[in-house]
Amino acid sequence: MAGVGGLNAAEQRELQGRMEQKQMKDFMNMYSNLVQRCFNDCVNDFTTKSLLGKEESCVMRCVDKFLKSSERLGERFQEQNAQMAQQGGMNAGR
């Protein structure tokens, strides 16, 4: 993480702690976005109060697909980010 270079050990520890809280929160957000999205796209029948078989299997495929997408996007994101950093910052590099 380029911008973190200037921190001393104590500062890094403090930051580390906050980042762990943030990761927890990010995970929670990711989870609830996932649920909301898959519910929205897969559950449309409110004549019953239990999930239909096809709704459940749609949700399961949706979760799988969303996790795979996020993973792939995460990889590409890191690659692009690394490439940017290597160029010494977009603007400085010119």
């Binding site: 762990e20 929160k25 957000n29 909301q36 409110f46 019953t48 995460g74 994101f77």
Partner: protein, 102 residues
């Protein structure tokens, strides 16, 4: 909301950690409720607002929507716990959104 990502044997937490964990749990419940309101009103309440009261159909739709929303939460959390367990007993901190930090 301990039913979502329940248990596991962890070391005794500090006071600040316990408060933070309780706070996170409340936040989680509260976010889940806000999403439920958002999702179920969109699914069940047409945006014409001809009348101020909930009619019978809307009320029943809301009730079923809550039941299905919980059911989906349970299924999804079971699935994700299953996968986390497969990747080895692991702490849940990782996965998806968190993966981008070195």
């Amino acid at each position: 909301m301990s039913f979502l990502f329940g248990g596991g044997g962890r070391p005794q937490p500090s006071s600040a950690e316990k408060i933070a964990a309780a706070e996170a749990e409340i936040e989680m419940v509260s976010n889940m409720f806000n999403q439920l309101v958002d999702t179920c009103t969109k699914k069940c309440i047409p945006n014409l607002y001809r009348e101020a009261d909930l009619n019978k159909g809307e009320s029943v739709c809301l009730d079923r929507c809550v039941a299905k929303f919980f059911e989906v939460n349970v299924k999804v959390s079971e699935k994700m716990q299953g996968e986390a367990a497969q990747r080895q007993g692991g702490a849940m901190g990782g996965g998806g959104g968190g993966s981008m930090f070195g």
